[in-house]
Symmetry: C2
DNA sequence: TGACTTATATGCGCCTCAAAAATAAGTAAA
DNA sequence: TTTACTTATTTTTGAGGCGCATATAAGTCA
């Protein structure tokens, strides 16, 4: 913290106070592709563009509490895994005035996506189209009709970073399970991984890796209503 | 960003403005152990405790620019790799008033450590003692005499996170090279890795791994002034 | 010159893991 | 009832990475 000599005795109000807000990337996997929940802006600047749900941080509110408040008020979600992503503070990122934003990444299971869309009809579920083969380039943000969706402020940069973070953590953390229902087949788990990575995986190898990690346990029950051999349902057990 | 409806038309000053500052973890490896450069606080709160160098973010200053300014003003350093670490915003983290801090991690080669200590004699080089064997526990911060050094605010938490981040990136990024002089032996590189990890590595395997990665090239020159066979000097070539 | 120290190169066995092939369990159609 | 079809699951095989041990090289110092 801080300029020690100065902080000690002088008037706190002599220093700049900035607006601080939180923006939440509500991310999930739907129809085999990563997606994010956005709001369409009505007023300038960036009227008509899509933006991440967000809100100002209160004077007596912790950053994480602000993120949870936005999650609750804008999407009706209470128990969602939410981690800090990055803090964006370019001077001109908002043309009106200086705003520093702390971006958070929330991971949504399919049921949570639908619940949020129902809780707030203003939300739209945008698809993040990963460029085929090349996963370094920026991902295109598409609206439900498949049209390119322009984003407000630096929110496209934030979305890109969110997807990169998710991709990076996929192999050595349990993030994949937050994007699935409590019971799932290995095929569903693989689909989620492939959607985030943007590339295919070898099936037997994926299966063995997942089982050997010890994070999942078979439930003994099987899929129903398939027109082929039903797959075993697994459940996330937790990391050691 | 932001509560769209509200942001659009109302008075910006109706919302909380917070003090925002940057704190820099100046990290390096010295005498086979990770270390960080700290300042001793003179005034309350936490008088006599050590603290990270930091400063307030100006109203028209980007976060990264603020970090570079602190790096320059407090340690005389100009060309240092510096990445954002995490943003801390607990309400009571500073007992005087609400301050949100964006923590940054700067990686220092041995020469940069010495240069900083000379540029600002107030700086002290604290050793981060990784608990033997168990790298999950918090690392103790020791002053040059080996005594435990109490830290101000939540700065111990920030230091611990910095070391964890460094450890996590060690294997798949080039962070190790930022902690070494431009020319180095494989033994020096291994010492840095072992210091960050807090555990020993197998020598031939480490050597093979590093060479196979293709990140380093032999320079053809050798160590001098050794009392044994001199080692080849390598140099970082960059990642592909 | 020979002892000593550390760097460097090589060989071996184990474990991980990707890819392919083989087998199992359902549905749908003949 | 049988056969074709689809997808799940298991087994096999081979390549590569890595830890460990050993052998050799290149300096200093007594």
């Amino acid at each position: 913290m801080a300029d020690i000599d100065i902080l000690a005795g002088e008037d706190p109000d002599a220093y700049a106070r900035l607006s601080v807000c939180v923006d939440i990337v509500l991310m999930g996997v739907r129809k085999g592709a990563p997606c994010a929940l956005l709001l369409r802006r009505g007023a300038a600047p960036f009227a008509g563009h899509a933006a991440l749900p967000g809100g100002f941080v209160g004077a007596r509110e912790a950053l994480e509490d602000a993120a949870r408040r936005v999650l609750r008020d804008k999407a009706g979600l209470l128990d969602v895994r939410c981690e800090q992503l990055y803090t964006f503070g370019e001077v001109a990122r908002d043309p009106r005035r200086r705003i520093v934003t702390v971006a958070w990444l929330a991971l949504l299971a399919p049921a949570a996506i639908e619940a949020a869309l129902e809780a707030n009809p203003e939300l739209l579920c945008a698809t993040l189209a990963v460029p085929e083969g090349d996963c370094s380039g920026d991902s295109a943000v598409l609206d439900p009709t498949g049209a390119r969706l322009p984003l407000a402020f630096d929110h496209e940069q934030i979305l890109t970073l969110a997807l990169e973070r998710l991709r990076g953590k996929l192999d050595y953390t349990a993030v994949g399970f937050d994007l699935l229902p409590p019971f799932f087949t290995l095929r569903q788990l693989q689909d989620v991984h492939e959607a985030i990575r943007g590339s295919a995986l070898n099936k037997p190898a994926f299966r063995r890796r997942m089982i050997d990690k010890g994070w999942i346990t078979p439930t003994g029950t099987r899929e129903t209503r398939t027109s082929h051999r039903p797959a075993e349902l697994y459940r996330f057990r937790g990391m050691t």
